[in-house]
């Protein structure tokens, strides 16, 4: 990646900048508690919570799920999944969740 003087960038540059490394706490969603109310997706200031069909393994892997985690997910459901490449761990989703289905867990790095 060559830089341009004055930090000149084309649109969508925030996709290049992965902000996931800033995170101290990681949101862990209990998909069995989730009632698909959409609030976490709406409130996420980073816009990084996505609706993903549970069979879309590629997307889940891309967003930071481990293969063994994927195996234990509910089948044939739409899941609300934070993209851990960008999630800064701000806890807004956990705070807003009416079912308290999102837990913020200290992330070991």
């Amino acid at each position: 990646m060559e830089i341009k003087a004055g930090k000149l960038v084309d649109p969508c540059s925030t996709q290049i900048t992965k902000t996931g490394a800033w995170r101290t706490f990681v949101p862990v969603v209990d998909h069995n508690e989730c009632i698909k109310c959409n609030l976490c997706e709406i409130f996420c200031p980073e816009g990084c919570i996505h609706q993903v069909p549970s069979k879309d393994v590629d997307a889940l892997l891309k967003y930071g799920y481990k293969p063994d985690q994927i195996r234990s997910l509910p089948k044939d459901e739409i899941l609300f999944v934070p993209d851990l490449n960008y999630c800064k761990g701000c806890s807004v989703c956990a705070h807003e969740c009416p079912r308290k289905a999102i837990e913020m867990v200290l992330e070991e790095k």
Binding site: A5, G6, K7, L8, S13
Partner: protein, 409 residues
């Protein structure tokens, strides 16, 4: 540095055009700005301010100058407006002074970091507290590390001419760095002097239109000054550092091109006066150079080998040019109108650093004088020279406040 740049040649040059007029310093600069054809001018129209933007506003109102003239709510906004204007491809101008520059501080970094070639005249004036609006150079010296180029003018003519040169330097695609053209407040901004006003046609030939390769444009969106994390931030600062090093050559070159077009030359990065065989060399910047030259003439008549090296470009700091200009001096005295409280003073510290790793082992002493508008007289310059003579044997004091009034302390 060739000896032909000796300012004597310039002083003795007769008026050659009908454009020679007796005008206020601020008018001369405003007229030069008009010749640069700026697209956008911004101003915070009350104190601290100079007549420069007042004259420009008159020119716009009279239809002499086709520019967008924006009056804003503060100096912070005055420069912020220009960030947008310059990024959108407009040649942009403002002038400021003292507290106004201080209020711009945050934006100064944005302008240089986004590589916007804005030109701003700084009418050098003291900072409060204590409340004082007279001349010294604490304001711009305090902003020496913000990434702007800084040129210090010796007289009104140079301040006006340097303003035209400034756009050519700043807008060079390899440099793209903003410039402060510094002129002493009141001593130069409010004085009436005979000045050869710039010719509009010649100015247009000298300064090509501003054609940046990247601009803010809704049809081709871009972000200026975007987020840079620790993996790239250093490299952006390096690019700025590199551009300032390139500006060393560009400032020299532009001064020579200006001489070819207009017949006036003030030195590129530095200039000298009777320094060829001088044992005692005074290094200084700004309007005090006039007084210093008179003092040198008087002391030369007494047989003292005194000379002057003028620092015209303070940022970038002309390390090589100064090493060359000062290599034969037996003692160097730095005179400046600023003080780095807790350290010494800007020019002194920079000059010492520039010479430290060279073969020059000349004693250097520094003086701060003229703070808050106190006059620096020929008597003061003589006093500096006496102290410099003594320092050849032994340095009593590396840095001092000249003319300190012990009786009121």
């Amino acid at each position: 540095m060739s000896q032909k740049m000796s300012s004597q040649a310039y002083v003795n040059k007769p008026a050659r055009s009908a454009n020679m007029k007796v005008v206020e310093g601020s008018y001369a600069v405003a007229h030069a700005v008009m010749c640069c054809l700026p697209d956008v001018i911004s101003a915070y129209p009350i104190t601290p301010q100079t007549h420069i933007v007042e004259h420009l506003s008159q020119m716009v109102a009279d239809g002499e100058l086709d520019s967008e003239f924006l009056t804003v709510d503060s100096e912070f906004s005055a420069l912020s407006v220009l960030v947008g204007a310059s990024a959108a491809g407009a040649r942009s101008y403002s002038s400021t002074t003292s507290q106004g520059l201080a209020l711009m501080y945050e934006v100064l970094y944005n302008v240089s970091g986004m590589r916007l070639p804005i030109v701003m005249n700084v009418a050098n004036r003291a900072l409060s507290a204590p409340l004082n609006i007279w001349n010294d150079q604490q304001d711009s010296i305090g902003a020496r590390d913000v990434g702007w180029l800084q040129i210090y003018a010796e007289d009104v003519q140079e301040a006006a001419d340097a303003t035209l040169q400034a756009y050519k330097i700043a807008e060079d695609p390899t440099i793209r760095t903003p410039i402060m053209v510094c002129m002493d407040g009141f001593i130069l901004t409010h004085v009436y002097e005979p000045v050869e006003l710039l010719d509009k046609e010649l100015s247009r030939e000298f300064l090509p239109p501003f054609q940046p390769e990247n601009i803010l444009d809704p049809s081709d969106p871009k972000t200026f000054g975007a987020f840079a994390d620790p993996t790239t931030y250093t490299e952006f600062r390096y690019l700025q550092f590199e551009a300032q090093q390139k500006a060393l050559g560009k400032i020299e070159q532009t001064a020579k091109e200006f001489e070819e077009t207009f017949g006036r030359y003030y030195g590129g990065l530095v200039d000298s006066y009777r320094a060829e065989d001088a044992e005692i060399v005074i290094v200084t910047m700004g309007s005090v150079i006039g007084t210093t030259k008179d003092a040198i003439d008087a002391m030369r008549a007494d047989g003292k080998k005194v000379g002057l090296v003028k620092v015209r470009s303070y940022r970038p700091f002309p390390v090589q040019a100064l090493r060359k200009a000062l290599k034969d001096a037996s003692v160097i005295a730095v005179l400046e109108k600023d003080v780095a409280i807790g350290g010494e003073a800007g020019l002194l510290t920079d000059l010492k650093a520039a010479l430290y790793n060279s073969s020059i082992r000349t004693p250097i002493i520094g003086f701060t004088a003229g703070l808050g508008g106190r006059d620096i007289t020929i008597k003061d310059i003589r006093k500096i020279v006496e102290k410099a003579e003594a320092a050849r044997k032994k340095i009593e004091s590396e840095f001092e406040f000249l003319d300190l009034r012990m009786e009121i302390l």
